[in-house]
Amino acid sequence: MTAIAMPAPDEDVLSRRQDILKALKSIVPGEGVIHEEREMRAYETDALTAYRQLPLIVVLPETVDQVARVLKYCHENNVKVVPRGAGTSLSGGALPLADGVLLSMMKFNQVLDIDFDNRAVVVQPGVTNLGITRAVEDEGFYYAPDPSSQIACSIGGNIAENSGGVHCLKYGLTTNNVLGLEMVLITGEVIRLGGKHLDSEGYDFLALMTGSEGLLGVVTEVTVRILQKPETARALLIGFPTSEDGGRCVADIIAAGIIPGGMEMMDKPAIHAAEDFVNAGYPRDVEALLIVELDGPEKEVDFLIGRVEEIARANQASHVRISQSEEERMTFWAGRKAAFPAVGRISPDYLCMDGTIPRRELPKVLARMRELSEKHGLGVANVFHAGDGNLHPLILYDANKPGELDAAEAFGADILRLCVEVGGVLTGEHGVGIEKRDLMTDMFTDADLKQQQRVKCAFDEKQLLNPGKVFPVLHRCAELGKMHVHKGQLPFPDIPRF
């Protein structure tokens, strides 16, 4: 375990483990409660594998009523709960707590309703992201948000993390594609938000739940909107002698009124690693490689391919290839999609960072990242969603060399601070989790964080759901509730009155 500390386990809860186990078994019968250490090992980490922790007990409910009763029991008995989907979080969002029940939602794996006329699908939260598309693709439909882990990640987890993917520049994040939720509060109360209709007036709890990283409630049913697949998709593979040229090309494409279905960039170390791995035909003598995918009606795509090619040439592109077949388009993507495992071949370990910057700052950020690479003595390869400025620096290190994990984490923190410094944010799509928790104060003031924690207090006053994630300092709700103004003691504001 490294520098990121979790709250100290509550000895009282640990001493009550047998009682809690008995109570959970009475709610979820059969094999739905896991408590043997050997079996709980499968749950000790998510995709941020540098952090491991055995949970107190794992529970796998099968019905909404069981979820409600588990949460109500935990609420009444002051037991923490960590909700978990497929466990693919890259920021430690599903990392268990030693004194907390791990609530796995993976038995909620049914597609409940497919409504093509209303373009809505109702699923349980354990259905995978790709599972939704699989359920509707025979009729030509798909679910647009496409995180890289879509084959494995659950839609419930996508809600928790507000997942995106290559498509999200054009089609939006999870938050823009979810129509409704059924959820259970920590008190065991069941709430329905939205449905197959588009807008529900009243406070937008759907917005608060999406991206709340399991801190506000447990999702038990999801309604998403589906789209008809675009008629066609084609891609361009464009190489540039400098990252500045690539960055300008991206800006010019958007300025021309073109929003591609996907626009991804890689730097030289990433290009080489990917090419060595999959032989996608990437040029090796470029500093930046851009993949631009255009989707839509065939005529429109043909027209836009021509426009993007012109823009690329005007920005000193040294290589331009246009996909002539579906196979060739897939080859362009093969290297990008394999970039993470490809980097895994050139370095024993890597940390995948996730921050967003204003795109105009890209050259400056890449230059500063090279300086930081020297300072920390570690290499870095970059792949990023060029259309929206979401960077994924891969920091290369060797966990077996003493001190290298610490150096990699320090390097990563410096990169994220740099993102904030140039006007960006700490995370574009992986979430804060535990990974970026202690950096929240670099982006937000104490007052900013207090408002967010007040949302938490409205949902979960005892702070039993997923504590230790997202927020660096746990304020007690009673303390947050105090008003810091006193009647009559404020100076009368100097405001023009009419």
């Binding site: 938050t175 823009n176 209709h197 937008d204 937000f444 504001p493």
Partner: protein
Amino acid sequence: MDGVLKPRDAREIENAVKWAAAEEQPLEIIGQGSKRGLGRPVQAAHVLDLSDVSGVEDYEPAELVLTVKAGTPIAEIERLVDENGQELSFEPMDYGPLQGSEPGMGTIGGVIAANLSGPRRLKAGAARDHILGMEAVSGRGEIFNSGGKVVKNVTGYDLPRALCGSFGTLAVAATVTLKVNPKPETSASFILTGLADKTAVAALCKAMGSSAEVSGAAHLPAGVGGDESQTVLRLEGFETSVDYRFNSLLDLLRQYGRPNRLDEAGSRSLWQTIRDVTPFAGTTTPVWRVSLAPTNGPGFIEMLRRQIKVQAFYDWSGGLVWLTVADGLVHETEIRETLEAAGGGHATLVRAGLSERTNVDVFQPQPTPLAKLTQRLKTQFDPSGILNPGRMVSGV
């Protein structure tokens, strides 16, 4: 002490709210006051007028990001982004004509507070789908930032989005950051005439489920838009693409009759009519805005017609029903019970007199657990209940 507080910046908003919180003096928050007829009437001795908190702070067309002060007129923002070949793609509707006031009034703060959108909602989303960040002052008089100024961000809770549609009852916005999009090169509309409501909505749903990328799908029954009913689909984008998609709709909807084509100017004017509910402007009968699953729209109206005399038209492929009640009464019970029987949804009274808006649930009533959560969120952000008290729900 009654009067208008007119802050000039975020700091002055903070001071005003701090004072009001300390003195427990409720505030009615307005921009240009164009949406005062929406929601329940606010009982407040003081008005917090944000019209001087105005101006563009930062606009980066290439980043698709615009930061403006909350009191900036929406018309000014639309002009600015238009000059740069961009638009607010949520196409905020203008309640002016429907409410019997001037069109083109209102501020971005008001658009966000009411979470406005237009016909493009079904493709591009509402205001809440385009907000990226906000600087605001809570009912505790605490100034805070949330969200960011980049188009992709999941850092912390999505407070800016949650504050959309909260009608100023949680916090007062000082500055908002929005995502803007390129404006389509051209647009056109595909119009079928003479269809009955149910057939029309079936045609709209069929088109929405195709790859034609329809950005507006409405049905105006006979007597609302003209003598004959009009079923309208909007296509936007590059000219070659619009033509191509028009032809694809011709093939797809052949069974529903021969369409007419409206060119760009005609199309724009028709969609503005639909967006601003112009068919119901100029009268004072109560107007309801009903959001429901698109295919349930016609059945809902059919059932309702057996009980009361209504005029209605459909946007969002049938999922948004605008209806007005001919006898001048609000008929809350009939409308909400029929909606429930038609599959459920959300009915909001958007035009009615003061006393109706005081005595009727203007917004869809919430089940108890949700209502309690609403109350808890309000208490967290505005414990003294000074921001637009009662605007949404009595006590909130």
